[in-house]
């Protein structure tokens, strides 16, 4: 299992801060497609971090157990 973390406006839509996802053979891009289907995330300008590093939304990196994926809406610090 990998963990998906949600932040800001995205967490508001998913109605949770994190959830688990089965990773067998799943690419980052596949994972996003699944979540988009579930939550309609295309409305957001989402950035994706894999283990705390930004990755492309189309990334074909395969997820492993214990990976952490974060879906980040636009940054608003300052």
């Amino acid at each position: 299992m990998a963990v998906i973390k949600y932040f800001g406006a995205i967490a508001e839509v998913t109605n949770c801060n994190e959830e688990q996802i089965a990773v067998s053979d799943l690419k980052v891009s596949d994972c996003l497609a699944l979540l988009n289907e579930k939550y309609n995330l295309n409305q957001f300008d989402v950035s994706v971090a894999l283990n705390q590093n930004l990755v492309d939304r189309d990334s074909t990196i395969k997820l492993s157990d214990n990976d952490e994926i974060a879906l980040l809406p636009p940054f608003a610090g300052g």
């Binding site: 973390k5 932040f7 705390q52 636009p74 940054f75 610090g77 300052g78």
Partner: protein
């Protein structure tokens, strides 16, 4: 990993305390401080009462370490501190504090501007603008 995130507003007393700590460093001739203060913006006739900040801390800390390392390489600084609030910060309160110190004044200005802009752009901080009627919208930084 340096402490950056502070629960609640950054108070004038906290800022004074930071300044005071640097008064023992006698090679410093110039400090430059940036403070971000929450504005009571009026958006579609509703007034912002405060901003509720959250952050992806595990991701933010290594990014902040990189930012500091690059800034020390780029600018001739003696000290550098970055603080950002988490939680609800009311209009008029300070939520962002960048503090740069150097031997001479000419070193500090560009460093401060660089740090403010790169933190806004690169650090995963999220802000919920809460209006006086308790409705909200999500803040987006113009890059």
């Amino acid at each position: 990993m340096k402490k950056v995130f502070i629960n609640g507003p950054i108070t004038p007393e906290f800022i004074a305390n930071s300044i005071e700590k640097h008064q023992t460093k006698h090679s410093i001739g110039a400090h430059n401080i940036f403070l971000g203060q929450v504005r009571a913006d009026v958006i579609n006739d509703k007034t912002v009462a405060g901003i509720d900040f959250t952050c992806y801390e595990e991701m933010a800390h290594p990014i902040l370490d990189d930012i500091r390392e690059k800034a020390f390489k780029t600018f001739n600084l003696t000290c550098m501190h970055i603080y950002h609030s988490l939680g609800e910060i009311k209009a008029g309160e300070v939520c962002f504090f960048v503090f740069v110190s150097a031997k001479h004044s000419k070193e500090v200005y560009a460093a401060t501007e660089y740090l403010v802009n790169i933190v806004k752009k690169k650090v995963p901080i999220f802000g919920k603008e809460i209006f006086e009627d308790e409705s909200h919208q999500w803040k987006v930084n113009k890059v």
